[in-house]
């Protein structure tokens, strides 16, 4: 049985941060949850979707984050508790709605937005601290520091939202959302609310300045509640030589730094879970006991700058301080923070020397291993259809010879930027930006531009944000080819279903939004291909490139190899015929292992022949088509 729906209060479980957030929402009695997948947030709604039917709640994968939050808000307006979850980029997508919803307020059902940031862009294209949305939008912010808090804060966020009729933001980061730790479960409520829209109510931002003022009054109320919140705590001596002020992932790192450097009698840690609006009295109380402050947080100096603002108002009555943190250079204002970074920052501030391991060993270990360890480039999975599509694009653009290029987008196929996709992508920004950029490139012929332009986007990205760009291209008669890489999955984030897969988030059948018909309805030329038919795909791309004027669409359709491998047996058994493989003397420059580079193909140095690694190959058989000596043999399974 899934731990998430286990009604066993007091039970000690190992939960992923995202599971803890989902559990917190269930313990709060959430009845509606909507999101677009994006790491590190994906498993929040993913987890809820798995228990939705049993728990009698509604869960959907929405087409994008703005629509997700709007859908969730409608449930709040109708009296139900509702949740939306998104990564930092999603917050940007939803921001237009957020900055109206803050003024309109929410309904009688609490509404919580979980913003999961990805410091160091571990699974993102950008790096961003989404906490700014709270300050700019006057929205209460909570930041869990532990797995237990991820659950407890999410649960309480619904109470807070209902207490002040406002959207509440819970901000997580990768090292909480995607890490696992102990969580003591609470009770699951059995009661379900009936949804009804009270037509005497209106939800509008109109009379914005007055509502803006009212919002500030709400925040003042929140600040009072935050002053005594159990999500803020202090550990350390009464009058610390240094006070570390931390939030989120910084709490464990700070604790470890103090322990490691044996500074618990000199250094205190004030952990703030309620980071906007800041509990100013609580801060003043602790700051009055010290003269030196070190801020530990991820990514921007949000806490640091907001505390400095308060300190400027307090000085000199309450005290004056030396500030250490991001602006002093002790903690860098970009990328992830980690225990080493914080131990070193604390060691520097407290002038206490630190070396992580025995003298001699560290240098030796690095030296002995460094020269031996090859880099491991990211690449497409064995049998991935994207490799084949990029191979065909590369071939077609080379045959065309006019310097054509590809505007890229967000998904697994972003790897097309690098060697895995033969360096075919030249731009990559937000969801749908590839096609948006292509509509502009496709207008430049008036200024002497004569290069063919392609955009690529995945099927899920197509629905999320590429449709407006495509329509822009059609309306303004831009000249480009849009290639939809339709692998029937939101593959990068964990294979969630979407509008084109025929399945809902909870596994029920759904109508399939047909990309081909939708494009045809726009009156553009649409072709489809199977990327594993390399010759046909290359020819179609070339033909579409040459069919100049207006937008043309190619749908390169082949199911994600990982999804396919889960559903069915490999179609082929592939091996290299050593007699036929001519190795370096072939003249093909080792097309299979040096150029095509599927990880299932390896080079046997001793024999000077290519070889199939049977632990990795998943039997797609495409490589058999690229070998000029027909040495790669595929046999039907």
């Amino acid at each position: 049985m899934s731990v998430i729906k286990k009604n066993a209060p007091g039970s000690n479980e190992l939960l992923m941060g995202n599971e803890a957030i989902a559990r917190g929402a269930l313990e709060a009695g959430v009845q509606f949850a909507a999101a677009y997948p994006g790491n590190p947030s994906s498993e929040i709604i993913g987890t809820l979707s798995q228990v939705a039917k049993d728990m009698g709640i509604y869960v959907e994968w929405s087409v994008n984050e703005k629509v997700a939050l709007e859908a969730a808000a409608s449930a709040s307006f109708s009296g139900l508790r509702a949740l939306s979850a998104m990564k930092q980029n999603g917050v940007n997508v939803a921001s237009d709605f957020i900055f109206n919803l803050n003024l309109s307020g929410v309904g009688s059902g609490g509404l919580v937005l979980v913003a999961a940031d990805d410091p160091a862009a571990l699974s993102s294209t950008n790096e961003e601290d989404s906490r700014f949305i709270s300050k700019v939008g006057d929205l209460p912010l909570l930041e869990p520091a532990t797995f237990q808090e991820a659950k407890d804060m999410t649960k309480w966020a619904f109470d807070l939202s209902e207490a002040i009729n406002s959207l509440v933001i819970v901000r997580s980061v990768s090292r909480i959302s995607h890490a696992r730790g102990n969580v003591i479960l609470g009770e699951l409520p059995q009661e379900k609310k009936t949804a009804r829209y009270d037509t005497s109510k209106i939800f509008i931002p109109v009379a914005a300045p007055l509502r803006h003022l009212a919002l500030h009054l709400k925040l003042a109320k929140v600040r009072e509640m935050y002053e005594s919140s159990p999500f803020n705590w202090y550990v350390g001596p009464e009058k610390p030589e240094l006070l570390m002020i931390t939030s989120g992932s910084g709490w464990f790192y700070s604790l470890e730094a103090v322990k490691t450097l044996q500074l618990k009698d000199q250094v205190g840690i004030l952990k703030i879970g309620t980071t906007w609006p800041l509990p100013s009295k609580l801060l003043a109380k602790h700051m009055a006991n010290t003269k030196r402050l070190l801020f530990v947080e991820e990514v921007d100096p949000f806490l640091e700058n907001n505390v400095k603002e308060l300190a400027a108002e307090w000085s000199p009555e309450i005290g004056s301080w030396t500030f250490y943190g991001k602006s002093s250079g002790h903690v860098h204002p970009f990328g992830e923070i980690n225990p080493d970074l914080i131990i070193n920052a604390l060691a520097k501030v407290m002038s206490k020397p630190y070396s992580p391991r025995e003298a001699g060993y560290g240098g030796k270990a690095l030296e002995m291993t460094k020269s031996l360890v090859p880099n491991r480039d990211l690449g497409f999975c064995p049998g991935c259809p994207h490799r084949a599509t990029f191979w065909a694009i590369k071939g077609a653009l080379k045959l065309d010879g006019r310097g054509g290029f590809v505007a890229g987008d967000i998904g697994c196929y972003s790897l097309g930027l690098g060697p895995a996709g033969f360096f075919q992508l030249k731009t990559m920004h937000a969801m749908g930006s590839g096609t948006g950029l292509a509509t502009g490139f496709g207008q430049l012929h008036k200024f002497g531009f004569n290069q063919p332009v392609l955009s690529v986007c995945g099927d899920s990205t197509f629905f999320h944000a590429a449709i407006p760009a495509l329509i822009n291209g059609v309306y303004n008669q831009s000249d480009f080819v849009m290639v939809v890489l339709d692998n029937s999955a939101t593959a990068m984030t964990g294979f969630q279903p979407h509008a084109g897969t025929g399945e809902t988030a909870t596994g029920s059948p759904a109508p399939v939004v047909d990309i081909e018909k939708l494009c045809k309805a726009l009156g553009v030329r649409v072709e489809t291909c199977d990327p594993f038919d390399l010759q046909d795909t290359t020819e179609k791309i070339l033909d579409l490139i040459n069919d100049e004027g207006g937008v043309r669409v190619l749908i390169s359709r082949r199911q994600c190899a990982l999804v396919k491998a889960k559903e069915e047996k490999a179609p082929y058994k592939v091996h290299v015929d050593e007699e036929k493989c001519l190795g370096e003397s072939c003249g093909c420059a080792r097309l299979c292992t040096r150029v095509f580079k599927c990880p299932g193909l390896i080079w046997n140095k001793e024999k000077g022949k290519s070889q199939v690694d049977e632990a990795i190959c998943n039997g797609c058989g495409v490589c058999a088509d690229i070998c000029p000596s027909s040495a790669i043999i595929r046999k039907e399974n």
């Binding site: 000690n12 479980e13 190992l14 790491n39 590190p40 990805d118 571990l122 699974s123 993102s124 532990t146 990768s174 090292r175 995607h178 890490a179 696992r180 730790g181 102990n182 464990f252 790192y253 470890e256 490691t260 980690n338 225990p339 080493d340 992580p356 391991r357 025995e358 060993y361 560290g362 030796k364 270990a365 690095l366 002995m368 291993t369 460094k370 031996l372 360890v373 090859p374 880099n375 491991r376 480039d377 990211l378 690449g379 497409f380 999975c381 790897l415 060697p419 895995a420 990068m492 080792r590 292992t593 040096r594 990880p599 193909l601 390896i602 080079w603 690694d613 049977e614 632990a615 990795i616």
Partner: protein, 204 residues
């Protein structure tokens, strides 16, 4: 059972797709059953596509730790791929670290292309043995292939770790967790793989 060190730091490393996450979860769940505090930090996202991946497990009787192990502080390294053991021991090793290593390489594309060298297994073994207190090499992929699929590699390696007695967990606790973690149709195969892994290191 008691911990040999507080906190005990374990790194499971390998290549995206080898099943790091499942292995770390199994071990983590088994430990939580015995009321240990466990924190696991994983590599998610783009690195899962053929990149080097790590799971950090921090095990404590006293408190929850961060999901990241500081430099030089690993107590145990389990490597699903040999060169990844080298990568991790270089950054996280110390004179008392133990290593359990699968001997089957997964060649990075840079090696297949010819831009980089993959060290000989002999050299890898020698280097790790010199840097670690104790090392076990297991032919986990070969065993998994003999069972019909490379997907058993991670469970065999979990078994191999169990056989070393480096963790404060008995065999029964692992088996219980395996039974709870797989669909009933897959339990027998995974238990078999676990036990075979365990035999490879037990008493060695």
């Amino acid at each position: 059972m008691t911990l040999s060190k507080e906190p005990l730091n374990l790194i499971i490393t390998g290549v995206g797709g080898q099943g790091n996450v499942l292995a770390s979860q199994l071990i983590g769940r088994a430990l939580v059953k015995d009321n240990f505090y466990v924190t696991i930090g994983e590599t998610y996202g783009a690195s899962q596509r053929g990149g080097a991946v790590m799971s950090h497990l921090r095990i404590s009787r006293e408190s929850q730790y961060s999901p990241l192990i500081p430099e030089g502080q690993a107590d145990i390294i389990v490597a699903l791929e040999p060169v990844e053991a080298l990568r991790v021991i270089g950054q996280y090793g110390n004179p008392s670290v133990s290593a359990v290593v699968n001997s089957r390489p997964i060649y990075p594309t840079a090696v297949t292309v010819g831009d980089a060298e993959y060290p000989s297994l002999e050299k890898i073994k020698k280097t790790i043995s010199e840097l670690a207190r104790k090392t076990w090499f297991v032919d986990a992929t070969e065993i998994a292939l003999s069972y019909g699929s490379p997907i058993f590699t991670n469970i065999i390696m979990v078994g191999a770790l169990a056989g070393t007695n480096l963790l404060p967990l008995n065999r029964k606790k692992f088996e219980e967790t395996i039974k709870e973690s797989f669909p009933s149709t897959h339990v027998a195969d995974n238990l078999k793989a676990f036990e075979r892994g365990l035999e490879m290191t037990q008493g060695c």
